[in-house]
C-alpha cells in the first residue's frame, strides 16, 4: 500500500490520496512527505532538511534535487522513499536490469532527458522504471504503449544512467565518434585531406618542381614574395586586432550589479563537463573549484567524463564521496581516444539548458556561470556560445609560464575581443566555453578527430549561422612550465590548427559564402597563417643570419621591390611590434612583472617553431594522436593539494 494511502488510512482518511493522480505534478506536499519518511528512517537529519528547505526557497528548485545536491541523502535512499510514497516498488537496475528488447535507440535521448526507461514486461504491461511520475511521463508512455499498456516502478537516476550507458554503449560510442562525419563528412577531420585536396597538393608540388627546374630564380622570387606578403598581412591583422581589442568598449561587460540582480529560482539547469584522463591527483582541486561556483547547487549537473580504463581516476572520484550533483560518465574504449570524443559521449547524458567544459585543474571565477546565463538571455538565439577568458594561476613560476601567460593574455584579452568586435568566427579556447545545449547538438558538437576541436567548433558555429561572444570572466588554469610537456601540448595545438584549416578549406567558396569576406580572411590569418609563419620563421631567420653575420650570402635578388621593403618592414618593424603587442598583453590584468620579461618573446617564438615542425610531422603520420598534457606539475598546484590533504586529515 502506498505510504500516503497507509497514513491516510491510519488517520481514518479515505480521500483521493489512494492511487496516483495522473494529472498531479510532484509538488511540495509530495517532497515533504518523502522527506518525512527519510527522517523517520534516520536517513536525513532535521538540520539537513532545514538547510534544504532554506535553499529551496532561494533556489526555487524542488526539494529532491536540493537534498541530494547538498549531500544530505544518497540518491538510492531518496528514491526508495519516493517509491514508498507512491506505493510502488523500488528497483535496483544493477541487480534487476532492463530487458534490452523493450528499449529503442530512437528513444535513447528521452531516457536521459526524462529519466525513464522501459524495464520489464509484467502481466502484459510494459513496466517503466522512472525517478518521478508526472503527466509528461504518462503522455510519453501512452504514446508508445497505449492507455492501459504500461505501469511504473521507481528507480534512481544513477541506475538509469548506468543502465542507459550499458545498453547503448556501442551506439553512444559510435555516435560520439561518427555523428559529425555521418552528418557532414566535409566538416570532419577524420580524413586529414580529401582526394581533391590530395590531387591539388600533388599538382601544385609538381608545378612548383617544374618551375624550380625551368626557372629557379624567378620561382624562388615569387615564393618569397608570397611569404613576405603573408607575413605583412598577418602583422597588419594582428595590429588591428590588438588595437581594437585593447579598448574596454569591445568587452562584453557584465556588471556585478547585473549578476546580483539574477534570481536563483530563474536559473536554468547547467551542465558542467569535466573530461579527465589519469588525473586523480588534481580531482580535489576540481571539486573545490566547482563548489565555489556561485550557482544553485541543485541546478548544477557535473559530469566527470572518464575513460572506462582509467580505474585510478574513477576510484579516486568515488573515494571523494562527491555531492549528488556529480556523476561519473565512463567513456567506452575506442579510437580516437580524444577529449572531444569523450565530451561527445557525455553530451548524450546532459540535461542542462547550457553546458560548459572545464579541465580538472581549472579555477573559474565564481560568477562565471551566471555571467554566461546573462549573456545568453540578453542576446538572440543566434548566440550559441560565450567564451570565458583563460589565464594562469602560476604565471610567475618560471620563464615558460611567464611567456605562456603573456600569450594567453594577448589571446583572450585582446585578440578574441577584437575578433568578436569584428564579428568574425572566433576559435574557441580549450575550456570555459559555455554553450546553448540545443545549438551545440544542432551543429554536431565536437569533431572527435580534430585535436583542437574547440577552434574547429568556433568556425563551424559561424558556418551554421551562429555567433560566439567573449565574456569578462576568467578561468585560471595551470600553465605548463615543463618544456617537453609544453612542446607536446603546443605541437598538438598547431597540428589542430593545421587540421582545422585543411578541413574548412575543402570548399573555400562555400566557406566564404557562409562566413563572409571578412570572416574568410580572418580565418586565413588567424587559423591558416600562424602554423605557416611558425614553419617559415626558422628558414627566414637562417637567411637573415647568413646575410648579417657571415656576409657571405647575398639574398637581395630574392627580394625585388616592393617586396624588399616589405621584408625589411617585417624583419625590423613587424617583429619588434609583435614583441610590443606581446608586452602590452600584460596591461589589462596589470601583470607589470611580465612587461619587462616580455622582450624575450622571440625566444618563445623559437620554441613555437620547434613545436610547429613536430606538428607538421605528426599531421602526416598520426593526425588524430592526442598528446596528453600533464597537469599537476606546478608547485602552486602541489601546495594547494597539500593544503587540501592537511585539511582532510584534520
Amino acid at each position: 500500500m502506498a505510504y500516503l494511502a497507509r497514513k491516510a488510512a491510519d488517520a481514518g482518511d479515505s480521500s483521493e490520496l489512494l492511487g496516483i493522480d495522473r494529472y498531479a505534478e510532484e509538488g511540495d506536499l509530495f517532497h515533504i512527505e518523502v522527506a518525512k519518511l527519510l527522517i523517520e528512517r534516520k536517513l536525513v537529519r532535521l538540520t539537513g532538511l532545514a538547510q534544504a528547505l532554506q535553499a529551496r526557497s532561494s533556489w526555487g528548485h524542488d526539494l529532491a534535487h536540493i537534498l541530494i545536491a547538498q549531500g544530505h541523502v544518497r540518491r538510492i535512499d531518496y528514491y526508495s522513499a519516493v517509491a514508498d510514497v507512491y506505493g510502488l516498488p523500488f528497483v535496483d537496475l544493477t541487480k534487476q536490469p532492463v530487458d534490452p528488447a523493450l528499449t529503442s535507440v530512437d528513444d535513447r535521448a528521452d531516457y536521459a532527458e526524462r529519466n525513464l526507461i522501459p524495464w520489464q514486461l509484467r502481466n502484459g504491461k510494459t513496466v517503466i522504471a522512472t525517478t518521478s511520475i508526472t503527466p509528461r511521463h504518462f503522455e510519453w508512455a501512452e504514446a508508445r504503449y497505449g492507455e492501459h499498456g504500461f505501469d511504473f516502478v521507481i528507480t534512481s537516476p544513477f541506475d538509469i544512467l548506468w543502465q542507459t550507458q550499458s545498453l547503448f554503449r556501442e551506439w553512444d560510442s559510435f555516435f560520439a565518434r561518427e555523428a559529425l562525419f555521418s552528418w557532414k563528412p566535409e566538416h570532419s577531420a577524420k580524413f586529414t585531406v580529401t582526394s581533391a585536396q590530395k590531387a591539388t597538393i600533388w599538382i601544385m608540388a609538381a608545378v612548383l618542381l617544374l618551375c624550380l627546374i625551368v626557372a629557379t630564380r624567378p620561382t624562388l622570387v615569387v615564393l618569397m614574395a608570397a611569404v613576405t606578403t603573408i607575413y605583412s598581412l598577418t602583422f597588419i591583422f594582428k595590429f588591428l586586432l590588438t588595437w581594437v581589442g585593447s579598448s574596454r568598449r569591445v568587452d562584453m561587460e557584465i556588471s556585478p550589479e547585473a549578476v546580483a540582480s539574477l534570481k536563483d529560482p530563474e536559473m536554468p539547469i547547467y551542465t558542467v563537463l569535466v573530461p579527465m584522463y589519469r588525473e586523480a591527483k588534481v580531482l580535489p582541486l576540481l571539486v573545490g573549484s566547482l563548489k565555489r561556483l556561485d550557482y544553485p547547487a541543485s541546478k548544477l549537473e557535473v559530469k566527470l567524463v572518464l575513460e572506462e580504463d582509467d580505474d585510478e581516476t574513477i576510484n579516486a572520484a568515488k573515494a571523494l564521496k562527491l555531492p549528488g550533483s556529480f556523476e561519473i560518465v565512463r567513456v567506452p574504449k575506442s579510437q580516437p581516444k580524444t577529449k572531444p570524443k569523450a565530451c561527445n559521449y557525455a553530451l548524450q547524458f546532459c540535461r542542462g539548458e547550457f553546458v560548459t567544459i572545464y579541465d580538472a585543474e581549472d579555477q573559474p571565477e565564481a560568477d562565471q556561470l551566471k555571467k554566461a546565463v546573462l549573456a545568453f538571455r540578453n542576446s538572440d538565439d543566434k548566440l550559441a556560445c560565450v567564451q570565458g577568458r583563460l589565464n594562469y594561476f602560476n604565471r610567475s613560476e618560471n620563464w615558460l609560464t611567464r611567456m605562456f601567460t603573456l600569450e594567453y593574455s594577448q589571446w583572450f584579452d585582446f585578440l578574441l575581443p577584437g575578433l568578436d568586435w569584428l564579428k568574425v568566427p572566433i576559435p574557441l579556447g580549450g575550456t570555459s566555453n559555455h554553450f546553448r545545449l540545443s545549438a551545440l547538438r544542432q551543429v554536431g558538437a565536437w569533431d572527435p578527430y580534430n585535436v583542437t576541436e574547440d577552434a574547429d567548433l568556433g568556425v563551424r558555429l559561424a558556418q551554421e549561422g551562429f555567433t560566439v561572444g567573449v565574456i569578462n570572466s576568467t578561468t585560471y588554469e595551470e600553465a605548463n612550465g615543463v618544456l617537453p610537456s609544453w612542446i607536446k601540448q603546443r605541437s598538438r595545438w598547431i597540428k589542430g590548427y593545421m587540421q582545422t584549416w585543411l578541413v574548412h578549406m575543402r570548399h573555400p567558396i562555400q566557406l566564404w559564402r557562409s562566413i563572409g569576406t571578412k570572416g574568410f580572411f580572418s580565418f586565413q590569418f588567424f587559423i591558416g597563417a600562424p602554423p605557416f609563419t611558425k614553419l617559415m620563421a626558422p628558414i627566414l631567420w637562417l637567411m637573415t643570419g647568413l646575410v648579417w653575420l657571415t656576409h657571405t650570402h647575398d639574398f637581395g635578388w630574392l627580394f625585388p621591390e616592393p617586396f624588399g621593403t616589405m621584408a625589411m618592414f617585417n624583419l625590423a618593424l613587424g617583429n619588434l611590434f609583435l614583441v610590443y603587442f606581446g608586452v602590452i598583453a600584460a596591461l589589462k590584468r596589470r601583470y607589470f612583472d611580465l612587461v619587462i620579461v616580455g622582450v624575450l618573446l622571440p625566444c618563445y617564438w623559437l620554441l613555437q617553431s620547434l613545436a610547429a615542425y613536430k606538428a607538421a610531422w605528426q599531421l602526416m603520420v598520426k593526425p588524430h594522436y592526442w598528446e596528453k598534457t600533464e597537469h599537476g606539475t606546478s608547485s602552486v598546484t602541489q601546495k594547494t593539494l597539500d593544503a587540501f590533504k592537511q585539511q582532510e586529515a584534520a
Binding site: 585593447s246 561587460e253 619588434l576 602590452i584 596589470r590 612587461v595
Partner: protein, 380 residues
C-alpha cells in the same frame, strides 16, 4: 556592449545622417585642399622659391628636419623638374592640410559645434597667415604640427578613459615626435614618464612605473630601428640620418627670448582659451586639465627650446604649433557655447593680426607672391 547598466549618454544617429556628415567632411577636405593647392601653385608661378626645395637642391636637406620630412623630400627629389618638384611638395602639404581640416570639421560637429561655427573655425585656421605659409611656403613644420595635434587627443584619452587602449595610443603617437623633428624628440621620455605617473599603479609600484614607461617608449625605439634599417638597406649613409638629432643640441645659449614669446602672444592669442578652461568652473564638461595645459605647454617647449638650443627655430614656429594644438583640442573638448564663441573670436583676432605688418615675421618674397594671388591683401 554593456548589460544591465544605465545607457550611455550617446545619441544614436541615423545611418543617413552619418553618411551625410561624411560627405560634408569630404567636401570640406577637398575644398581646403584645392584652396591650398591653388594658392601654392600661384605662389610658385609668382616666382617664390620654397626653402625646403632650395635646401634639397643644394644637398643640404638632410642637415635639418625630422625623418618624415626627409623621407618626403627624398622621394620628391627623384622628380627631375624643379617646378614640378615644388608643385609636388605643395601637393603633399595641401593634401595633408586639407585632410586635417576636413577631419577637424567632422570632429567639431561631433563635439557639438554648429555647422556654421565649425566652418568658420576651419576657415579661420586655414586662412591664418602662418598656416598658409607653412603649407605653401616650404616649411618642414607640417610633420611637427601633425605630431603635436595627434598628441592632444592621446593625452586626453589617458586622462579621461585611462584604459589600455589609451596607454597604447599615446605610445603609438610618440614616434611621431621622433619622425617630426629633432626638436620634438626629447619630449618622448618626459611624456612616457608622465603617462606612467598618470596610472595609479605607476605611482605606487616601481615595477608598474618601469613597465608603463617601457610601453610608452618602445614604439619610438622600434620606429627608430626601422628607419635606420630602411635607410641602411636603401644604401644611404646612416650618419646623415642621425646627425641632425645630435646637432640640434650641441650648444646652449640664450637667443631672442623676447621675440619668441611676443610672437606667441601676437600670432596666437588663442592660448587664453585653454588656460581659462583650466580655471573657470562650468565649462561644459568635467575639466581635463592636462590635455588643456598641453595645448600651451607643447608650443611653449618649442619657444624655450628655440631660445636655448641652436634649432634655428623661427619665431613663428611656436605660434603655428599653438594653432595646431588648439585646433586639435577644440576637436575633442565639449565646450559650452560661450567658450566656443571665445575660441572663434580669439582665432579671428589671431588671423587678423597675422596679416598685419609686424616685427616678428615677414618673408617678403612670399608676401609678394601671395599679393599676386590675393591682391586684397595689403602688406609690405
Amino acid at each position: 556592449m554593456s548589460i544591465a547598466g544605465p545607457a550611455d549618454g550617446l545619441t544614436a544617429r541615423s545611418a543617413k545622417s552619418l553618411v551625410g556628415d561624411r560627405i560634408v567632411n569630404l567636401a570640406v577636405s577637398l575644398a581646403a585642399m584645392l584652396a591650398f593647392l591653388w594658392i601654392a601653385q600661384h605662389v610658385i608661378e609668382a616666382g617664390y622659391q620654397r626653402a625646403d626645395i632650395a635646401a634639397l637642391e643644394a644637398g643640404e636637406a638632410w642637415k635639418r628636419g625630422g625623418w618624415l620630412s626627409q623621407i618626403v623630400l627624398t622621394i620628391v627629389g627623384y622628380v627631375p623638374d624643379h617646378n614640378v618638384r615644388q608643385s609636388a611638395l605643395s601637393l603633399v602639404g595641401a593634401a595633408a592640410a586639407g585632410a586635417i581640416l576636413g577631419v577637424l570639421y567632422g570632429r567639431l560637429r561631433a563635439t557639438g559645434w554648429y555647422a556654421i561655427g565649425a566652418l568658420l573655425l576651419v576657415a579661420a585656421l586655414g586662412s591664418h597667415a602662418l598656416a598658409l605659409y607653412a603649407v605653401t611656403g616650404g616649411s618642414r613644420a607640417i610633420p611637427l604640427l601633425i605630431a603635436f595635434a595627434a598628441l592632444i587627443p592621446a593625452i586626453r584619452a589617458l586622462e579621461s578613459v585611462g584604459d589600455v587602449q589609451s596607454a597604447i595610443s599615446l605610445g603609438l603617437m610618440l614616434p611621431l615626435l621622433l619622425l617630426a623633428s629633432p626638436t620634438t624628440t626629447p619630449l618622448i621620455l618626459p611624456l612616457a614618464v608622465a603617462s606612467a605617473l598618470a596610472d595609479r599603479d605607476g605611482r605606487r609600484d616601481i615595477r608598474a612605473f618601469v613597465a608603463m614607461v617601457l610601453v610608452a617608449v618602445l614604439p619610438s625605439i622600434i620606429v627608430a630601428v626601422g628607419v635606420i634599417g630602411f635607410t641602411a638597406q636603401a644604401g644611404f649613409d646612416v650618419t646623415n640620418l642621425v646627425l641632425p638629432y645630435v646637432a640640434d643640441f650641441r650648444t646652449i645659449g640664450l637667443g631672442n627670448w623676447q621675440g619668441m614669446f611676443a610672437a606667441l602672444g601676437y600670432f596666437a592669442p588663442v592660448l587664453i582659451v585653454p588656460l581659462l578652461y583650466c580655471f573657470v568652473p562650468n565649462v561644459g564638461e568635467t575639466p581635463r586639465r592636462w590635455s588643456a595645459v598641453a595645448v600651451v605647454a607643447l608650443p611653449l617647449y618649442l619657444a624655450i627650446g628655440g631660445i636655448i638650443f641652436p634649432w634655428n627655430m623661427p619665431v613663428w614656429g611656436p605660434p603655428i604649433a599653438l594653432l595646431a594644438t588648439f585646433g586639435s583640442w577644440l576637436a575633442i573638448a565639449h565646450l559650452k557655447l560661450w567658450m566656443r564663441v571665445l575660441a572663434l573670436a580669439t582665432l579671428g583676432v589671431a588671423v587678423g593680426l597675422s596679416w598685419m605688418v609686424n616685427p616678428f615675421w615677414q618673408d617678403a618674397e612670399w608676401l609678394k607672391a601671395i599679393h599676386s594671388v590675393l591682391p586684397f591683401i595689403q602688406l609690405g
